[in-house]
Symmetry: C2
Subunit: 594 residues, 2 copies
């Protein structure tokens, strides 16, 4: 099937004199999760992983992805002609240099400009230009090939009410318009879906796991255009927008409208998200900057933080009920990883304002926990017994917030010293970073290592960043702040500020043996102000017991034991009123002071 | 005087139709310390600080420098027309954007290409090109203006013997030639003086504080050229070079020889050090890379590490004798900061293989210690009494190594709690980073904050990086590894490897009150190897007691007290055999276990 599709693509390439074609995994908005309509890379390669780029030439179809997906690639693509090209750095465009080395001079690469940001095309051009390789925009290359391609989603759009958003659309638009005036520009062009959802206080269900709306937005000094099919909105929503000088226009008119922007106008935009098709449509001048909405959105207001805290109560209740169910059920039977994931979601569904999972839950038993982006298959996933280790990383979307939590639990038997050392070091790392006080503006790369130091002491480590921003009924991975080793990633280089929500999630993985990760969401706040400036600290928001069966108590300092006792007291105090007597007793047992 | 010089420069600019002139502080080799011949920026601005760039237009003469030098600028330039332009980031070329904004289209900036690296000119061109501003090479702009400009230094060149270098020139050249072959190139062009000194095992005294030789080097696949005046070498040195297929040619013939390199040849070079004049002279193809010699040189061999350890003994003895002298002398009289610095140097001069200071010693009493790049003036420097705090940052060049150490001592009276908290936090930070174990390849930015964490906890910090590489009878600030907050500096982004010498030097500064810094040189070594890879740790090499009068013992953990006792035991054990009985007793008192 894949080879038929590739054959059809190559026929198309031949007819258009294309020597190569690059098919990335994203949509016109650089989204992490995309609507089925945009699953082009999956369609032509069979690979369903969330990160990967397909490069097709006459002879080769190469799928570029990083080590998190190597096993998944083998599972999904082993029978096809698609070969695995191993990236050393996740999301790095290593295929660009490769294809430019491979191609002769004066050749042509086909791309759909909508799938590439302005920055990405600039990067490609820096390699193609020396060999006079041309890029050709091919927005219709699937016509006649992908005949059952789904249309773009067109679900109703909900207005995200002020009791959840905490700030009116008028106030948010006003901040953007102030920036337009400050920069002496006329427009601000947005293409990132979560920025548009935040700015206009709108939500829908266009993509998996994230309540976003497929749209563009052009904010002017006084009036704004939201490019999103009008039929998706209620009459009253349209009317309310009208009062704010926001007109709603059809999604697919964005390019033609951008064409009409006069040459002398200046548009501010973020080149890392603006797609090249939109960029190309404009004859005016651009000012490039990190999106102001990305920056504003990362600072949560008090209502959003209250919402997050409320979600943590709900998540905490669901997780407590889930772990009780798991413990009891395992006494009688084995349960598949897949069923465990579904059951956890069932418990969350019973909570107020629940709308869905915030990502595909990771339920990894024993060695499966070591596969960092593991998803238990619907059929034949591993059977979990009342012994050994289980990693559960999950989250939900509630209308008042987004959650993401990982716990690793011991199901029975005697854990090895190695396992206890690793588990204890992970917890110590979590505590170290969560308890750190640091100057406002410190970047994630500067402090990521505090979560690793105790692992390092034991010759251990983990091959991923330590945390990411998280949205408010938005994206579970929200830019830009976080904790990462790399000086090249936004999570590494973005200054931490007050009122941000970020995960702290150190781990430790031994292939075929175990995966450990402990993850809470924390909120940043100013804890001290001196002549040296403001200093930030974190407060844990996530409320769920931490399994003490895997702790090596001798490794913990007094202050670490105090931290754990205080945290468990908080979890117990906050969740107990929401549990029945039996559940309460079970939780208090888990939260008993050490 | 300065205004006469600027007037002459502006006359020259008018005659050449130049709208601006940029005069940086460096030489054709991007050296940190330059020969007097190259002190152009000082000549035209009067500013003697080590970092700063002068930009001259018809109306403005602006000196760009960072906060470390603001006070010095006021002292030195207050009476002249030169204005201070405050840089927010040290060494950042912030003046480039400024001058390009200021100038009209189609204007011309004069520069001496030799004073700019290839990378620096590329950076300038990225701003000038949009306004069609031209750069014009003006290597003779001081002719007829700076009439008493000194000639380039021409001192005899010493061969650095194998008992100090630990590796023959033949072996070093061989590694470069292997790289040339691996890259399918014909030449490797070097312009950094410390790289050339290392590669050819040569030393001289062309610049202050650093035993370098003014030279270029072109290494070919089989033969090499060292561009350095032949009269500087002994007959036997020339002969020995001859046996290695190294010919010595006059320094100023480099450009004409580079002109002759055929078009089809490929030259490897480091664009961050190669000056634009040399770059311009070549018609062949360049391969740009981080200099291989910079990388090789950063890994010290066993002889160099032995040499470093030997220097620490010598420095330790000199410092012990110095601190004894200081303590005794202060009982009877007040001593100027300047005299203290000279006296310390006197003690070092008595040590074997001493050749000079490795930088201008910083002796800062009370508030002067808070001026990070303070140099006590020869006349009217502060008078030090037997009370209060004194910061002494100093180092020496010995033929077997280079040293750099900072100690802060309490001279009498009762220190404030604030002072003790800061001093103790600085020491805790030093210990934290020195004791850290981390994966090989970890960058400086990732672990710099361990030296700050205890300061941060108390709302304190310091406005500089935490450490730098150091040479072996070479530069006191040797690239590339180190510890820095910034993801944009080499010290922040360079991976740490085994066998490197680096300083750890946290501090704390309160304007007009005190400066604290504690600095040791450490060597990196593999301390653990597991399935997760190799892990590095540090071993302190510097041997000098740490003043315990300023410690708040309640702030120190048991393991920190153990660290200090062990370190003091080491200092006492190593230095005592080299001291007389009285000195020994004094040191043992200072090193007494807590």
């Amino acid at each position: 099937m894949i080879s038929q599709r590739l054959k059809a693509l190559r026929n198309y390439m031949a007819s258009k004199k294309l020597d190569a074609f690059i098919i990335p995994s994203t949509d016109p908005h650089q989204s992490e999760y995309v609507a089925n309509h945009w699953k082009l890379r999956e369609y032509f390669s069979g690979f369903t992983g969330s990160a990967g780029t397909l490069v097709v030439t006459k002879d080769i179809a190469g799928l570029w992805t990083d080590s998190r997906y190597f096993l998944q690639f083998e599972d999904e693509c082993n029978d096809s002609e698609v070969i695995l090209c191993k990236q050393s750095i996740p999301h790095a465009p290593e295929h660009v240099e490769w294809i430019c080395n491979l191609l002769n001079e004066n050749t042509i690469i086909g791309v759909d400009y909508r799938q590439f940001s302005k920055s990405q095309i600039d990067y490609i051009l820096s390699f193609t230009s020396t060999k006079n390789i041309q890029l050709q925009n091919e927005p219709k290359f699937t016509d006649g090939i992908w005949t059952d391609r789904l249309a773009l989603p067109n679900f109703p759009v909900d207005v995200h009410p002020i009791e959840f958003s905490g700030e009116t659309t008028a106030s948010k638009i006003d901040k953007v318009q102030t920036e337009i005036k400050n920069q002496d520009a006329q427009y601000y062009l947005f293409s990132s879906l979560d920025e548009i959802a935040w700015l206009f206080n709108i939500r829908s269900s266009d993509v998996d796991f994230t309540p976003l709306v497929t749209a563009y937005a052009l904010v002017g000094a006084n009036t704004s255009i939201l490019f999103c099919n009008k039929s998706r909105f209620s009459q009253s929503a349209i009317a309310t927008f009208g009062e704010l000088n926001i007109s709603v226009q059809e999604y697919d008119t964005v390019v033609s409208l951008l064409n009409e922007v006069p040459k002398e106008k200046t548009i501010i935009t973020d080149p890392s998200t603006l797609n090249y098709s939109c960029f190309n449509a404009v004859s005016g001048r651009f000012i490039y900057q990190n999106s102001i909405v990305k920056e504003l959105k990362a600072i949560k207001n008090e209502i959003e933080i209250e919402g997050a805290k409320n979600c943590m109560l709900k998540d905490g209740v669901a997780l407590t009920k889930f772990f009780i169910w798991l413990e009891q059920e395992l006494e009688n039977r084995e349960i598949s990883e897949y069923e465990i994931g579904r059951k956890l979601d069932n418990f969350r569904q019973q909570q107020e304002y629940y709308t869905g999972e915030s990502f595909a839950a990771i339920v990894g038993y024993k060695g499966n926990g070591a596969i960092i982006h593991y998803t238990a298959p619907e059929e034949n996933s591993a059977m979990v017994k009342n012994e050994g280790i289980l990693l559960v990383d999950s989250g939900a979307q509630y209308k008042d917030g987004t959650t993401d939590i990982t716990r690793t639990v011991w199901l029975g038997g005697t854990p090895s010293t190695e396992l206890k050392t690793a588990y204890t070091s992970v917890l110590k790392g979590y505590i170290e970073l969560e308890q750190l006080q640091f100057p406002i503006g410190t970047t994630g790369a500067q402090i990521d290592a505090f979560a690793r130091m105790h692992l390092w002491k034991n010759g251990l480590d983990y091959p991923h960043g330590t945390g990411h921003g998280i949205g408010s009924y938005g994206m579970v991975h929200e830019p830009a702040q976080g904790f990462a080793t790399g000086a090249t990633t936004a999570r590494g280089t973005t200054p931490h500020l007050s009122h941000q929500l970020t995960t702290i999630e150190p781990g430790c993985y031994v292939t075929n043996q175990f995966g450990i990760r402990t993850e809470n969401i924390v909120v940043s706040k100013v804890v001290k102000e001196t002549a040296f400036g403001k200093f930030l600290g974190f407060e844990a928001l996530t409320l769920c017991y931490i399994d003490t069966n895997l702790l090596n108590l001798e490794q913990l300092s007094t202050s670490e034991i105090n931290w754990l006792n205080n945290y468990h007291q908080l979890v117990s105090d906050k969740l107990s009123p929401l549990l029945n007597e039996k559940e309460k007793q079970w939780l208090q047992q888990k939260c008993k002071a050490l």
